[in-house]
């Protein structure tokens, strides 16, 4: 008899046996997850999606008073409001991608335990729904920037490097997703990691030039912070808008290599864990 099975269920799959075709087949599901995340978050709130604006604005104001007015950390001659808002907007995207994908398995154990679909659909949908959020917040950033130019005489210097913006965002998405799924695979067994992650991300923010410019640091600290793969992204973003700071192709190249390697490694680990995580979660 001819053996033509549509599917064979085996104990283990080889490391590189990643079914991208299947993920593509489930693209409708990914988009529905994105929709679900977006629609369900603001249901039964009075302000609804306005929270997308309120949160970065208030954080910016807090940073402005704490770090600029009290701690007197300079912002490289960039308008402090725009400086912080740009940092927070970008950082939020990275940290949301990272932290929200990092509990994929634990948070979805109920649904994963009952039905099969490619598990990567969940973290991918998180990255996409955060991308929409980022888009809205960048519009906010532009609006505030226009306001500052018109009413507060703030000088900015948007230059051709602005065209690299989509690539910067892609790098952050890739890095956040990669790190997130690595952690999600490990937290199924060792929950300790989720505690580590919460303050780890916080610490990472202070190791990234969000509330201070890279030029503010010097010596050993400077080279340490330069090594942070997120640093070139932040610096390039500000350079593109304000023409101040550093723009370093080689730094971006290193970040790109790092990001894609992390994602590659993440997909491999995730792919191995997703088959049997139900037994350990």
């Amino acid at each position: 008899m001819k053996e033509n099975w549509t599917e064979v269920i085996n104990p283990k799959r080889s490391i590189f046996d990643i079914n991208f075709k299947e993920i593509w087949k489930y693209r409708d599901l990914i988009m529905l997850f994105v929709r679900r995340d977006f629609v369900s978050v603001y249901k039964q709130t009075v302000l609804g999606p306005l929270w997308l604006f309120i949160q970065p604005l208030f954080t910016t104001l807090t940073f402005f008073f704490v770090f600029n007015k009290i701690a007197k950390i300079p912002t490289d001659n960039i308008d402090p409001i725009l400086f912080y808002l740009s940092g927070i907007t970008l950082w939020n995207y990275f940290s949301d991608c990272f932290s929200k994908t990092s509990n994929t398995f634990v948070a979805n154990a109920g649904i994963f335990g009952k039905v099969y679909f490619p598990r990567l659909a969940t973290p991918i949908s998180i990255v996409i729904s955060n991308l929409i959020k980022l888009g809205i917040q960048i519009m906010l950033f532009v609006a505030i920037m226009l306001y500052q130019i018109m009413f507060n005489n703030v000088q900015i210097n948007i230059n051709s490097h602005i065209f690299i913006l989509p690539f910067l965002i892609l790098l952050m998405a890739v890095m956040g997703l990669g790190l997130g799924i690595i952690f999600s695979a490990l937290t199924t067994k060792y929950r300790d990691l989720s505690f580590l992650l919460t303050f780890g991300i916080q610490l990472l923010m202070y190791a990234t030039p969000i509330i201070y410019p890279l030029s503010f640091t010097s010596g050993k600290l400077h080279s340490l912070i330069s090594m942070n793969p997120l640093t070139p992204i932040m610096e390039s973003f500000r350079y593109a808008f304000f023409g101040i700071g550093s723009f370093d192709w080689s730094g971006l190249a290193v970040t790109s290599i790092f990001s894609f390697s992390v994602l590659f490694l993440g997909i491999i680990i995730f792919n191995q864990v997703e088959k049997s995580f139900m037994d350990t979660v």
Partner: protein
């Protein structure tokens, strides 16, 4: 044509808390595999047996499972709780992976165990139909083309744009089932759906099962409900402690299951001498027997008692409570016994047919003197099961109530 082929399937589980020591086990396991050796924890894995606790923390939830299913077959899988049925289904639906062995599948598998999976309470019925459908593997266009049908089947048109958290639980289940029912899989898994939901819902599920099998598609039906298995399935598999103990027609499989169960039961106790018999200085139990040993609800059940009366009282009043598995007293009955030869008292109680509900029962015994002083109160070691019969109407669930008498109805 074979649509499912399960070969040498094993599934290992780790018992107890997974925390301390798991890093050490993982490292040890990894060290053995890099050197090309066998998994050190595979050898020490115990049998799937809940009654006896093994000396180690690993257990085979499934052991050497082999079977195949042909297209259009309705296969019933039965077994006690913990026999491995659910584990098998989880592997079949790719929720978890086997430890060893393989399953080959031809066609899309869908399972009615996923009814309502992924429903988000904040989303409307319409949004949830799309989300749930996509989770179950349908594409957006597929759902769109069946949308009206799904809504009509569910009967919640009026509330389709209301968040499902406002739905009654019945509406919720109906909508969820409507989505699952329009999945059109080649292989359908039905797991204990009969246990939940009302009679109407059961009817729909079973109707859907019949439709699916009549269209030449395959159904795997997992249930405790022997009546439903016998009535709906052609083939059967009996699972016991993680392995298959019988494969055959549904009828034979159910018989095997009942026989295996009956071995766990105890319908006969007998003691030859007074010294080893249970009791006290007044009463010693000689013999208790339930006849027939595995009765149906339609059978008359005779319980024979025999005991030694060691008191001077010429008559003893014996009463018993009939207790079900929920420790609930179904009813009590008693009668006066005259002491015969060798201080022995004999008597039989007859429980009429069509009175008891199906289930497992035990007896609590009370021995009283003729002036109704309690002499001995003792649980008997008797456990007997009253089994249900096939039915020819659509409801296969357990009929409610501690008893199930056959009553006279006048209609018209």
């Amino acid at each position: 044509m074979e649509v499912i082929k399960v070969e040498n399937l094993y599934k290992q589980y780790r018992l107890g808390q997974i925390s301390t020591g798991s890093i050490a086990h993982d490292l040890n396991r990894w060290w053995h595999t890099v050197r090309g050796k066998e998994d050190p924890y595979e050898k020490v894995t115990g049998l799937n047996n809940r009654e006896s606790s093994g000396s180690n923390n690993y257990v085979w939830a499934l052991q050497d499972i082999n079977f195949s299913v042909n297209q259009g077959e309705v296969l019933g899988i039965i077994g006690r709780n913990g026999a491995g049925k659910s584990t098998l289904l989880k592997i079949l639906s790719k929720v978890t992976s086997p430890t060893k062995g393989s399953i080959k599948v031809n066609g899309r598998i869908a399972s009615l165990l996923e009814v309502g999976t992924g429903f988000h309470p904040e989303l409307t019925g319409r949004e949830n139909i799309f989300l749930n459908g996509a989770i179950l593997g349908m594409s957006k266009s597929e759902i769109r083309s069946k949308f009206d049908e799904i809504v009509a089947f569910s009967g919640v048109e009026k509330y389709i744009d209301t968040p499902v958290k406002r739905y009654s639980s019945g509406m919720y289940v109906r909508l969820a089932f409507a989505v699952a029912a329009h999945l059109e899989p080649e292989i359908l898994i039905v797991d204990e759906v009969l246990a939940v939901g009302d009679a109407e819902f059961q009817k729909k599920c079973l109707g859907k099962m019949k439709d699916v099998s009549e269209q030449g598609r395959t159904v795997l039906f997992v249930s405790h409900n022997l009546v439903a298995v016998k009535s709906l399935c052609k083939q059967g598999i009996l699972m016991e402690r993680g392995s298959i103990s019988f494969i055959g027609s549904a009828e034979e499989t159910v018989e095997h299951y009942m026989k295996a169960n009956a071995e766990q039961l105890n319908t006969f106790v007998s003691y030859d001498t007074r010294s080893n018999a249970p009791g006290n200085e007044c009463i010693k139990i000689n013999k208790i027997e339930v006849n027939p040993s595995n009765p149906f609800i339609t059978d008359e059940i005779k319980i024979h008692f025999s005991f030694w009366n060691l008191t001077d009282d010429p008559s003893i009043f014996l009463a018993f409570d009939l207790i079900d598995l929920h420790e609930e007293v179904v009813f009590g009955s008693g009668f006066s016994f005259e002491t015969g030869l060798d201080n022995l008292c004999h008597g039989t109680c007859i429980i009429p047919s069509d009175l008891m509900n199906d289930g497992v029962y035990s007896l609590q015994l009370y021995f009283n003197s003729s002036d109704m002083r309690l002499l001995l109160n003792i649980p008997s070691k008797i456990f007997f099961e009253v089994a249900d019969k096939e039915r020819n109407y659509a409801y296969f669930g357990k009929i409610n109530g501690v008893v199930r008498p056959k009553l006279k109805w006048n209609v018209g």
